[in-house]
Symmetry: none
């Protein structure tokens, strides 16, 4: 039983805790106020509102402070990621999803595809006038292009260049021409030669099932008259996207890896599993969360439209060459197996680990976090 | 462009924010300290440590305060649920998880390896007497085995069978003999022939960096006298693990895929990335959350001990044969590339998708959840 003395000690401690919690809330209110001021300032000077690098710096210094105070750094990182996210959310709500150029008419070419529908909604919600141009609409292309300020091409990779060439002559000279294709060099060249006005290549690195554009990346490959298409980039930034600018060639080389190689490797792995007739359910019963996650990545691919992937994988000759090189490179690993040489394997492993460098530790941290989330939920 | 004035205003605001964040962390440290005192007090008076009703009261009063300070009450509730959860977790770690057979002495063979150290800590925290047997301790093996109730083998795969054969003759007849190896047939056979008492094969499907055993899977391959080793399984269950029982052969076949093939495919992918000298940081800048996740899985592998993987990959001849078959199977995909045949690819894709069946949708759901988590956090 609790004595009088014990009871009063407990009460004191609880009051201390309540006071601490109240102070934390006051601090959060103060923080919100300061963040609003930062946003005002940034808008005044047209600076990007999000600053991912600063956030990461903040977080790693907070982690250090937490470790010093004997609090789990992961916990503190979690808390502050929550605070930062809420902060972004409330700022985004405040500036709403306002149109940067509300009086503009936007033409979406391929408005009935996944990304087309996605952007149609965003432009409409922001107050733009939106027209769609589908396959069956070419007979009235002149009418549809009349008076538009922006044309966005959102068609399958293979159709992009012909569609651009067909559309170009109908565009008003000052209209911004942009595309959303996941390769950039051929469409950008086609846009520049088919249209004399402002041109910009865009590649949203997310799918149409993404609910917000918050922190989603859009790759930007400049074409011509950047001052005239800047408002389109501003619009994406207002919607929360992070813009990353690069040349079309560099972009395509990165995507050879980030999209084509990755999808192809996943496809090959899935193909082998199906060929061996692996019992997936049984294998999941005996699986760690990370296996579940990795198998999930493979399963996820096969839940989607094959055309999406074949378009990406077969997009360019360079890409196909890279994938062939990948297959050939695997033969090297055959030697390791045939030699049954653990030491050779370990040596290779260490060399690769060195090359991965600090990224490995970061990957370990991030994926451990996710694995915990997965274990919590499933 | 930012003026001097604007820059200094921005800097001031950021310093304010940093100061606020630091104060919050100090408060969290103070809070943790008070909570520990509460727990001490409660233990002294044998009061229950958790007090759900008080937590709900606290949360609703914090919600009110938040609303008054123009902060989203849901956000504040989320934050404090996180704080309370962490508080419970760190308290739980402190009071550890009780021993099912507290008077038992446990011998850990390989107590200085990753998993050895992991289980040493758990057994110790639960109140068991724990001894370690390392390579250099064989001269006093008799003394170390004297009176023990459980011997756990936690050595590299290649060493498991010889270690078991060497240890067996020294074990008390009623001692439980268990191993933690990731393959089960050879160790189980060795344990059964080297020891006449209770025998069970265990394979914890998680690594030593896992902070809790909550919901983590342990594969159990029965050996002999299950009633006598049941307490070991109960102990794992008390620690939060989920036990899945199977035959050793079935287990090993599943692990050929779940571990060996998966690790090997990841290794090969990482090897190709390093060979091509891909700029990882640049590729991450242009990446969607799912790429980040997938690349993270690769990076994660290379953050770990190569020996761990070579032991797994080279463990048995069947395993090596499977991996060779995997490499050969990739040549089929070369044909798809050389034919530049999108339709053939799509056809294959559909067949595999059909084979994956409902798992694909499940994978899509789970991975979408995780991707959202990832986007939230990074």
């Amino acid at each position: 039983m609790l004595t009088k003395e014990g009871e009063s000690a407990l009460l004191d401690l609880r009051q201390d805790i309540d006071r601490i919690d109240q102070t934390i809330i006051s601090l959060l209110a103060e923080r919100k106020n300061r963040v609003s001021q930062v946003v005002e300032l940034k808008k005044k000077y047209s600076l990007p509102v999000h600053h991912p690098a600063r956030e990461e710096d903040m977080l790693s210094s907070l982690r250090k402070q937490a470790a010093g105070a004997d609090i789990d750094p992961d916990h503190v990182e979690d808390l502050f990621r929550g605070i930062l996210k809420e902060s972004r959310r409330s700022q985004t709500l405040r500036i709403a999803r306002k149109a940067v150029r509300p009086d503009t008419t936007v033409l979406l070419v391929g408005a009935d595809g996944g990304m087309g529908m996605y952007f149609r909604k965003w432009f409409l919600d922001a107050g733009y006038t939106v027209r769609g141009l589908e396959k069956t609409d070419w007979h009235r292309v002149g009418e549809l292009c009349d008076g538009i300020g922006l044309a966005v091409i959102s068609v399958p990779i293979g159709a992009t260049v012909p569609v651009i060439e067909r559309l170009g002559p109908h565009l008003p000279p000052d209209c911004v021409l942009a595309d959303l294709t996941s390769i950039k060099s051929p469409p950008l060249a086609a846009m520049l030669s088919s249209h004399s006005g402002p041109v910009v290549g865009l590649h949203p690195l997310f799918g149409p099932t993404t609910s917000t554009m918050d922190k989603q990346t859009v790759a930007v490959t400049p074409g011509r008259h950047s001052a005239d298409y800047q408002w389109v980039l501003d619009q994406l930034a207002v919607w929360g996207a992070v813009l990353v600018e690069t040349g079309a060639d560099v972009h395509d080389k990165i995507m050879d890896i980030v999209q084509a190689l990755r999808h192809f490797a996943t496809f090959s792995f899935g193909r082998f599993l199906s060929r061996k007739g692996i019992d997936l359910q049984q294998s999941l019963e005996f699986s760690s969360p990370i296996y579940r996650l990795e198998l999930g990545m493979v399963g996820r691919l096969f839940a989607q439209d094959p055309a999406l992937y074949s378009e990406i994988i077969f997009a360019t000759p360079q890409r196909r060459a890279l994938l062939k090189e990948f297959i050939s490179s695997l033969a090297e690993n055959m030697e390791l197996l045939e030699g049954e040489d653990k030491e050779a394997f370990n040596g290779q492993f260490r060399k690769i680990a060195e090359w991965f460098g600090p990224f490995s530790d970061q990957a370990m941290r991030e994926s451990t976090y996710l694995i915990d989330k997965l274990a919590e939920r499933f």
